[in-house]
C-alpha cells in the first residue's frame, strides 16, 4: 500500500518568502507528526495532530510556523517570512493512534521529507 508522501521533495526559496509543505499520511491514520531535521542532527518534533486538531504544538519554534489538518488527513506546514535558519529537511510521520499512556507503542511511518533551502 501507499506510504506517507510529502511534496515537494525539494524547495528553494528566498529569505522572507512564504512556503507551504504538504504531507499525505497513510490512509486511515489518525495521528500525524511533523519533525524537522537539520544537517547532522536527529529529527526534532514540531507538532502533532490527532484527527483535525493539533494536540501538541510545543515544538514549533516561533509564530512564523503554523500547520493545519482541516479534514483529518492531509496536513500542510506553513512557514512565513522564511529565514536561512529554517533550512532543513521537514519530515512527516503518521501512525494508527498517537494517544497513549507514557510508553506509547504506535509505530510512526515516515515520509521521505521535504528539503527546504532558504537563500
Amino acid at each position: 500500500g501507499a506510504g506517507v508522501s510529502q511534496t515537494p521533495s525539494n524547495k528553494v526559496t528566498e529569505k522572507g518568502k512564504y512556503v507551504e509543505l504538504r504531507c499525505d499520511p497513510i490512509s486511515g491514520h489518525t495521528a500525524l507528526y511533523w519533525y524537522r531535521q537539520s544537517l547532522g542532527q536527529g529529527p526534532e518534533f514540531l507538532i502533532y495532530f490527532q484527527g483535525t486538531g493539533a494536540a501538541d504544538d510545543s515544538g514549533l519554534p516561533n509564530d512564523r510556523f503554523f500547520a493545519v489538518r482541516p479534514e483529518g488527513s492531509v496536513s500542510t506546514l506553513k512557514i512565513q517570512r522564511t529565514e536561512r535558519g529554517d533550512s532543513a529537511v521537514y519530515l512527516c510521520a503518521s501512525s494508527d493512534n498517537g494517544v497513549a499512556s507514557v510508553g506509547g507503542t504506535y509505530e510512526q511511518y515516515f515520509g521521505p521529507g521535504t528539503r527546504l533551502t532558504v537563500t
Binding site: G40, G42, P43, G59, G103, G104, E107, F110, G111, P112
Partner: protein
C-alpha cells in the same frame, strides 16, 4: 527534557565484521525505537523495545533494552554494504507518541 546520546557518531567497518551502536538516555526509557535513514529518504522502522531486558532481532540486526531501561544497543552481525546508513534511536515522550531522537550514528561498510 529527555536527551538521547548515541555512540559512536560514525563508524566504518569492513564487510563481514560485527558492530554495536549504543543509545543512552538521560531519563528512564518507557520505549525505544530504532530507525535507519539513507540520504534523501525518510526513516525506516527497524524495531521497538519496551521492557527492560527485552531483545529483538530482525535478520542480522539485534537490539536490546537494558534492565535499568536507560540504554539500548543495536548489534549488526556480519555487516553488509546494504547496512550502510544513519541509525537513529528515538524515545516516546509525554502522553503522546511524539519522539525524541538521538543525533544518529553514521555507518559505512567497506567491501
Amino acid at each position: 527534557s529527555q536527551e538521547l546520546e548515541q555512540s559512536p557518531q560514525s563508524l566504518i567497518v569492513q564487510e563481514g565484521k560485527n558492530l554495536t551502536i549504543n543509545c543512552t538516555s538521560s531519563k528512564t526509557l518507557y520505549g525505544l525505537y530504532w530507525y535507519k535513514q539513507k540520504y534523501g529518504e525518510g526513516l525506516i522502522f527497524l524495531m521497538m523495545l519496551q521492557k527492560g531486558g527485552e531483545e529483538k532481532s530482525h535478520e542480522k540486526i539485534t537490539a536490546k533494552l537494558d534492565e535499568k531501561k536507560q540504554q539500548s544497543s543495536l548489534h549488526i552481525t556480519a555487516s553488509q554494504p546494504s547496512h550502510a546508513g544513519i541509525y537513529l534511536c528515538g524515545a516516546p515522550t509525554g502522553g503522546y507518541s511524539t519522539l525524541t531522537f538521538g543525533k544518529g550514528t553514521m555507518l559505512l561498510v567497506s567491501p
